[in-house]
């Protein structure tokens, strides 16, 4: 009898703790600039699993939560590819993560991601946030949503959160290239002028 009570109380405590943990991760506001970002192991469009730790030579990362089905994300596809072409060799590769629930957005399923990446000639990893576990930790709210990380001895530190640039409609009419400015600053050891910017995007589908 005593044993049962003990067992039940232990179980209750475990349940309570896990309930609060789950709740916490759900309401997590995500990262601020300066926080250490989690690594992950997510499936790429080539079927291989990708982690930030795999990029031994990288100085940091341009992590972009994006998808196939959001017009804002689509408007930025070529610019995301250009970012990777410009910065991967300099040590800041683009890592794209698709955060949507594919049951809600079938156009974001792995086959569709593969097809889009092939059609657009993506040279960066395009990863599926299977189970939607990674984007809430980052605090991504929409697609596209950028997190620039810099490798430090403590881990990958968040240096910038926000938009790619200041004109989603027309790449030729951009005045401020937020992501390029931020990565250039990191490469040159300068302070990033704007560490947090906002843009319209599509809510992440849960």
């Amino acid at each position: 009898m005593k044993k049962t009570v003990k067992l039940i109380s232990v179980l209750t405590i475990v349940l309570l703790i896990s309930a609060f943990t789950i709740q916490n991760s759900n309401v997590s506001p995500g990262y601020e600039v300066g926080d250490i970002a989690t690594d992950f192991k997510l499936e790429n469009i080539d079927g291989k699993m990708v982690s930030l730790a795999d990029f031994k030579e990288a100085k940091g990362f341009i992590v972009i939560f994006t998808c196939n089905t959001c017009p804002y994300a689509v408007a930025y596809e070529d610019r995301v590819e250009a970012l990777n072409e410009k910065y991967a060799d300099k040590g800041y590769p683009v890592i794209a993560i698709m955060p949507n629930n594919t049951k809600v957005k079938p156009g974001d399923r792995m086959e569709a991601m593969k097809a889009r990446a092939k059609a657009k000639g993506f040279t960066f990893p395009y990863l599926m946030d299977e189970g939607q576990k990674i984007y809430p930790q980052y605090g991504a709210k929409k697609t596209p949503h950028v997190y620039i990380l810099q490798k430090t001895k403590n881990g990958n530190q968040v240096k910038y959160i926000g938009a790619i640039d200041d004109n989603y409609q027309d790449a030729n009419a951009v005045n401020q290239k937020y992501v390029e400015d931020a990565v250039d600053a990191l490469l040159e050891g300068r302070d990033i002028k704007e560490t947090h910017t906002r843009a319209i995007g599509c809510s992440i589908k849960v």
Binding site: P71, A163, N167, A173, R198
Partner: protein, 182 residues
Amino acid sequence: MYRMRLFFNIIIAVLFFSCVENKKEMPSAEVIKNVSEVEVDSDFELEIYNFEGIEKFFKTETDKTYVINFWATWCAPCIKELPHFEALNTNYKSKNVEVILVSLDFPKAYEKKLKPFVIKHKLKSKVIALNDTNSNYWIPKVSEEWSGAIPATIIFNKDKRQFYERTFNYKELINEVEQFLN
């Protein structure tokens, strides 16, 4: 042979003209209704603003409560909740509530997607378009809490204001609006 052909042609001509005449003389009720609807619809002029222009809709000195919903025709959750905002606009008009639907469609979609959508769904709420690419400037002016994801909604009157980055069903929407009514 030739006479028969001529006769045949005349019959066809008579039949043809009688049909045309029929249509002219006896328009069905349905036809009239459609025509009048098209005329009404063709009056829909889309108001397009930059942020400076649209800011006047975001404040009031009157006793009215405003519900401003940011949406776009391509945004599936926005389209799903749109009927609730339409119902609110109709059902709460007597309680001095007005819904304004601010479209964030791309300008190239105004003619092809947005206007046909407004006409097809006979939207009764005021629909205006916001075309201002410098969203890093104006998103925090709408609300510091806004990440930029849509759908997003603000409810305000001259005393208070609340921002919502979420979707609504009708009951949830009414619950929020009721808190602004005294």
